[in-house]
Amino acid sequence: MTRKSSSLVVGGITAAALVLTGCAGGPPAPDGSALSDGKVTIGILNDQSGVYRDLSGPNTRVAVDMAIADYREKYGDEAVATEIEVITSDHQNKPDVANTQAQQMYDRRGADIILDVPTSSAALAVAEVAAAKERLFINVTAATMELTGASCNPYTFHWAYNTEMLAKGAAGVVEDGGESWAIVYPDYAFGQGMNASFTAAVEAAGGEVLESIATPFPNDNFSTFITRAAAQDPDVIGIMAAGGDLINFVKQYNQAGMQESTTLAVGLMFITDIHSLGVDQFSGTTFTDAWYWNYDEQNREFADRFTQLTDTRPTFAHAGNYSAALQYLEAIQRAGTDDADAVIAELEGAELNDLFLRNGVVRSDHSVIHDSYVARVKAADDVEEPWDYEAIIATIPAEDAFSDVNPNCSM
């Protein structure tokens, strides 16, 4: 069969399927062609087996399913998205795998949107595919500023956090008396970005960075790096490692007795990190959080539903994916179609509020800004129930939590 005739056949089958689903049930769509292929397909592309499995992974799907259930309950028979399918894929934190998986999801599996995508390099790869395919990509779990900077495009949104937002909490630490810093960061894109953002934030708040120390990644043995940082006699040691390396560092930091003389600031921390290391090892550590499950009644209610399904508490990434899926469906509802450009028109400039986005605004660079929080890890004695690890000591209003619109972004 030639390529042309095979695509004709595929086209025919798709048309037939469209007719069939049209007849099969559900209320007729407002204008008869509301959904591109008879349904809304939400793709989740993340780490299903590696280091970020626990903080996003399979449980992201649970969060997205909760958003779909809430959307259906709210709109019932009025829902534009009558049929919603969720598909998932594993990108193994590799940009090349992310690239091919994203193409498959958009082309062969009919994804209208891709969600989640931790790991900055993988996220940038997916953003490129989204722009080429002209379909939506809402990134939740990657940190890079590039997504809304030089690599921004009309189809990509950055929902939850970025490196500059993580660094905003540093200002609070400086004001608390932590004026001199030593920063230890892993020497790859994420670590370098974090180092730059934190150095800028500390200096803007009137503090001083005495030394920035690059470390290999991944790395098990930090003892000499800790000695070097301590030799500068800083008030604060900032660690920009994530996942297992962060835990290696904190264990060795505590063993070196550093917690008595210096404050530890962690660049990026998920609640799963605190859980896996044990709250006592992190006690007193300050960091910026995008969302905390036990912050108020609304969050707690969501967390309880989530826990019933997963036996674990949600990370901010899970809540962020819930929010992204929900607001995407709401935008389809307002637009009356799942056409990508129409949905984007609904999202751009929108003021959004849900349990994750407090005072959320979708900016022109497609960075979604919202209130964020300065969190401190509780002392072991103050923990009242499992996963009750954080005390929220300050709320950073949305416009202060994120930097200005990125001048490098043009779309």
Partner: protein, 289 residues
């Protein structure tokens, strides 16, 4: 100068741990001619079992130092009897692939059961705090790991070099035919030696629990460094593994101190230089390569 002394001490402390962790790899290769790629996974099992014993049964660090190697010794014997022994007669590429497969399976089982973010473990009582010698400070736990590792390495060397059991094991593994002719049941000794090597890996895992992240993949990167160590020391040489362990610890510490981003590359540059100059490694026998 203070900084240099400090880095040296930290390098030696790390080196002791590396030596112990690499020892089992050298023992298994020396005795069975098996390149045990699952060594990192057995190390990981040791650390995970330590954390689980504390969490589930309240069994602390000191008892774990005893219990975990015994349990993993049994597990090692099982793995040898059920899987490894069938491939012992073939080229050691076969056992290399087999043990690589075993490590993938073990890592995934632990991932499925305990997730990827790791298990908590607290500092063992009595081993916290710092030891100050003038301007130099060293965590007490690092010092303990150093002393303990050196003692275990010395014990293993004495066992193999000076005792009757050691002599039989060496005879059975180095000259199996002649040993058989002298009435030694060779196959009886191969299995416990494998179990012993696995137990040593798990012992390093117990020591790692208080100062490293306990995750399913903790052995996956570590095994690469361990292989560098046994290659530098000479495959199968116990003394070589110990000396190379210290050497790598020192190189890493100086690297971290003076050329931080190169600290891991330096280890492999050292390995490349050793292979170029002495292909059999520092203490390797020519025929063992």
């Amino acid at each position: 100068m203070d900084a240099f002394v400090q880095y040296t001490l930290q390098g030696l402390a790390a080196g002791g741990f590396y030596a112990l962790a690499a020892l089992g790899l050298a023992v298994i290769f020396g005795a069975l001619n098996v390149v045990n790629f699952a060594h990192g996974a057995f190390y990981m099992l040791g650390a995970v079992l330590t954390a689980v014993l504390l969490d589930v049964a309240g069994i602390g660090f000191w008892w774990s130092l005893l219990i975990v190697p015994v349990v993993l010794f049994g597990f090692g014997i099982l793995v040898e009897r059920v899987l490894v022994r069938w491939l012992l007669g073939f080229d050691n590429l076969y056992t290399f692939l087999l043990t690589f497969g075993i490590s993938l399976v073990l890592v995934d089982i632990i991932k499925l059961r305990y997730g990827v973010s790791g298990l908590p473990y607290e500092q063992p009582a009595g081993l916290g705090g710092l030891l100050s010698i003038g301007p130099i400070q060293l965590p007490v736990y690092q010092l303990f790991v150093f002393v303990f590792s050196v003692a275990v390495c010395a014990g293993v060397w004495l066992l193999l070099a000076k005792t009757r059991v050691g002599m039989i094991v060496r005879a059975a593994t180095e000259e199996p035919d002649r040993a058989r002719a002298l009435g030694i049941n060779v196959s009886r000794w191969v299995t416990p030696v494998f179990g012993f090597g696995v137990a040593l890996a798990s012992l390093a895992g117990v020591l790692a629990a208080p100062f490293r992240a306990i995750t399913a993949t903790m052995g996956s990167n570590f095994i690469i460094i361990l292989f560098a160590i046994v290659v530098i020391g000479g495959l199968g040489s116990i003394l070589g593994a110990v000396v190379a362990g210290f050497l790598v610890g020192l190189v890493e510490a100086y690297g971290q101190g003076y050329a931080s981003t190169f600290s891991q590359i330096l280890i492999f540059i050292l390995m490349a230089v050793v292979i170029l100059v002495r292909p059999a490694g520092l203490f390797g026998r020519r025929e063992s390569v």
